[in-house]
């Protein structure tokens, strides 16, 4: 991506906006398709992160693949309580990731400190105190589906960012929510009236 970024900057200097429109669309699309993850598992949430990668929930099909090396990855998934002692290590691993990079805060501990918010001397109250977090996923721990939903949201965020520095696309951010009019929770095939406890007498 770094090379593509440089091309983007060069074109921007030359005023090559026309060429960028089509290159942009392709690059942004492909960026979003394969967000390799750095699994920063520091506590119990890591179990759900692991479960999300294995066959039942199968994170690979969304293009998100856990890599043990921060230099191979695009997104850091913070799964677990971050202690004061761990904070410099997390920051260092984040700094080793190549640009562009994103951070997903998974679980209440990384969102706000969670159950360790009060009366504790060793826990960082939220990863956003020292990292720029893009997506917050609540839950203690969140289900693997919630994590995958969070990564899908992040994918939309990624596609909004253009190659040209500082430029953003206007896109629909959120995936369909239950309250959206186009999405209905009603059963499309309601059980027929005849089956519903017909009164024989």
């Amino acid at each position: 991506m770094a090379l593509v970024d440089r091309i983007g900057e060069g074109l921007e200097r030359l005023g090559g906006g026309v060429i960028l429109t089509s290159v942009d669309a392709l690059v942004d699309w492909s960026r979003g398709q394969s967000l390799w993850a750095f699994p920063m598992g520091t506590a119990c949430c890591a179990m759900e992160l692991i479960a999300a990668s294995f066959s039942k929930f199968d994170f690979d099909r969304l293009g998100t693949f856990p890599r043990p090396d921060p230099r191979h990855t695009d997104v850091m998934i913070l799964a677990g309580t971050i202690t004061e002692k761990m904070k410099p290590a997390v920051r260092r691993l984040y700094d080793q990731m190549p640009e562009p990079k994103w951070v997903v805060a998974m679980g209440n501990c990384t969102v706000s400190g969670g159950i360790f918010y009060y009366d504790t001397y060793s826990v960082v109250r939220g990863a956003d105190q020292f990292l720029p977090v893009d997506v917050y996923i609540s839950g203690c721990p969140p289900r693997p589906e919630a994590l995958q939903d969070g990564v899908l949201q992040l994918r939309e965020l990624v596609r909004m960012r253009s190659l040209a520095p500082g430029k953003r696309y206007e896109r629909e951010l959120a995936l369909p929510r239950p309250e959206d009019a186009s999405y209905s929770n009603e059963d499309p095939n309601p059980p027929s009236a005849g089956l519903e406890g017909g009164d024989a007498s």
Partner: protein, 156 residues
């Protein structure tokens, strides 16, 4: 190991170190033997010779004026466990390290040092282990205060 054998063992240790604390019970399963702080090293050697080859745990309790140190030992040959307790004064928290007897004491004693501020004389590498090296204070002391702590309000 039966209770009688354990009682006999503790009696042997008691005769060896005349000045034992009267803290000794078999009530809750494992034996508890209390020793004076200056006798901890010799008791540790005796227990090691008696077959307690494994140090499972070192911890401390804040009792106000004193800290109570708790060592839990296990013996694979005797299949028995025993607690050794001792006290140190709060204004002078020094105790001999048992690292020479059980090397497992290394990190355990570092943890007690980190969280209670008890200094283990003779420890090879007494640094903080759970908190950052530059942290101020010892969090498990009852009078510990830190500006970073948010107290839980009553209504929660």
């Amino acid at each position: 190991m039966t209770q009688d054998e354990m009682t006999a063992l503790i009696a042997r240790i008691r005769t060896h170190n005349a000045d034992l604390y009267p803290l000794f019970s078999l009530e809750f399963g494992d034996a508890v033997v209390g020793v004076a702080p200056e006798e901890l090293s010799s008791t540790a050697c005796d227990l090691r010779e008696a077959g307690f080859d494994r140090l499972t745990m070192v911890t401390a309790v804040d009792r106000g004026e004193t800290f109570e140190l708790v060592y839990r030992l296990h013996s694979r040959s005797l299949t028995a466990s025993i607690f050794v307790k001792t006290v140190v004064r709060r204004d002078d928290p020094h105790i001999a390290s048992v690292y020479d007897v059980w090397p497992a004491a290394n990190w355990q004693e570092r943890e007690v040092f980190d969280l209670f501020g008890i200094v283990f004389d003779g420890h090879p590498d007494l640094r903080r282990i759970l908190m950052p090296y530059d942290y101020e204070g010892h969090p498990l002391r009852r009078d510990f205060e830190h500006p970073n702590i948010i107290r839980r309000p009553d209504y929660i």
